[in-house]
């Protein structure tokens, strides 16, 4: 989320090299499968890290950390797109007005544009959270002990496949439905002030 804010704000600033850089980051995360991103973080990144850091990571659970970084960057990139469309929905006159009141570019973004954009972008961001939640199941591929992985473990020891799968499915569904409900509630509670 923080990463998303950073990316979206940078992209909104009129500095061309920065904008290109952010665009490249976002395109990378949008066009490469999340699983591949996790694999890169898990297998490839430790190779280029200095040795002490790598050893330290191996002693901690590196799987969790790397999957978390991969997932955070990925959903950050997607959310920044949501925020960007939120920013575009705020009339540019607001930005100009803020500038003429003496706010700096960053100040104008921070105090005038982003609060409005965030509100517009909330339904999209909730949707994105749903995807993030579902993507955590991928961390299983590098053996992080999350729900899907634990399910597999229990299944291997008990062979009661269906009960366990049923439980996992229901657990995922409960959370997903609550998120969808939250999204629906939000768009009813705060209908967009001006139709875009």
């Amino acid at each position: 989320m923080i990463f998303a804010l950073l990316l979206a704000s940078t992209r909104a600033l009129p500095v061309r090299p920065l904008r290109l850089l952010v665009a490249a980051i976002v395109e990378y995360h949008r066009n490469v499968p999340v699983l591949v991103q996790i694999l890169i973080w898990y297998f490839a990144v430790p190779q280029v890290l200095p040795d002490p850091l790598r050893l330290w990571l191996n002693r901690q659970d590196g799987e969790f950390l790397f999957s978390m970084i991969a997932l955070a960057l990925n959903s950050g990139a997607f959310m920044s797109e949501d925020l960007r469309s939120g920013l575009r929905a705020v009339p540019t006159a607001q930005f100009d007005a803020a500038r003429s009141l003496g706010l700096s570019q960053i100040g104008a973004l921070r105090y005038v544009m982003l609060p409005q954009a965030l509100r517009i972008a909330v339904p999209a961001i909730i949707n994105q959270t749903l995807f993030l939640f579902k993507n955590t199941s991928l961390a299983m591929a590098v053996a992080v002990g999350e729900l899907t992985y634990r399910m597999h473990e229990i299944e291997n020891t008990t062979f009661r496949t269906f009960e366990i799968f049923m439980f996992g499915t229901i657990a995922y569904l409960t959370f997903s439905f609550s998120l969808m409900g939250l999204g629906a509630w939000f768009s009813r509670r705060y209908p967009s002030a001006h139709r875009i």
Binding site: P33, L39, A44, K134, H152, G168, T169
Partner: protein
């Protein structure tokens, strides 16, 4: 990096094809095309059910769509992995399992696109068609669907990109697509994970980025008409 491409480039592209199953990037594409092609008819029916005014059609489709949207694809692949052999009574290959899982999963997402396409048309179209004496199915077949499908094309292309990215999960159950090939190459070389996985990422990137751009261009083209 170039030497990896030289040694394993063919493996990346088509897997061990002439001697083994078709794999690599070609396997990924095959999976995606089968996934899209087979789930589209299903999605069309679901989309029509979702726009229908009959409760008994609307409810099952809605439950289907929301349930699948709430589950990770990996879950569905596992369900298919264990469920299909039990339903059919005999083993099926991992490839077929994943195709089934993708078809089921994407049918939910595609049906939302179909629904959006249908609801995006003005109500006047339906009314005019019905006033001319066309039945519901004739209205759909000759008036609504042709227009809706044209409008849907860019979203379909975008969804195709999602499917390509989704097929990387087939790696988990051991289908020979490009991600599995990469991890095989990685375990053969052992010392160069960065290069191997960057090649993998680059392949996905080139494929998906160009398709995304094509979708954007198509959208602008349709908007101009």
């Amino acid at each position: 990096m170039l030497d990896i491409l030289r040694d394993f480039g063919v493996l990346f592209l088509i897997g061990s094809y002439p001697t083994g199953p078709l794999g690599g990037l070609a396997g990924t594409l095959l999976l995606s095309i089968l996934g899209l092609g087979l789930s589209f008819p299903l999605a069309l029916v679901l989309g029509l059910m979702r726009t229908s005014s009959q409760r008994w059609l609307l409810w099952p489709a809605t439950i289907w769509v929301y349930t699948l949207r709430g589950l990770p694809l990996l879950m569905i692949i596992f369900w298919a992995y264990f469920g299909i052999p039990i339903l059919l009574g005999h083993e099926v290959s991992a490839f077929i399992t994943v195709v089934c899982a993708i078809v089921i999963y994407e049918s939910a997402f595609l049906s939302e696109i179909v629904r959006a396409g249908l609801e995006g048309l003005s109500l006047g179209q339906t009314q005019a068609a019905r006033a001319l004496g066309l039945t519901y199915f004739q209205t759909m077949r000759y008036v609504l669907l042709p227009q809706a499908l044209t409008n849907m094309l860019p979203s379909l292309l975008n969804q195709f990109v999602s499917i390509i990215k989704a097929t990387s999960l087939a790696y988990v159950v051991g289908v020979h697509e490009v991600t599995l090939v990469a991890s095989q190459v990685n375990s053969m070389l052992l010392t160069k994970p960065m290069q191997v996985f960057l090649i993998l990422a680059a392949m996905y990137f080139i494929l998906c980025f160009s398709l995304n751009r094509a979708a954007g261009a198509l959208e602008r083209h349709l908007a101009r008409r």
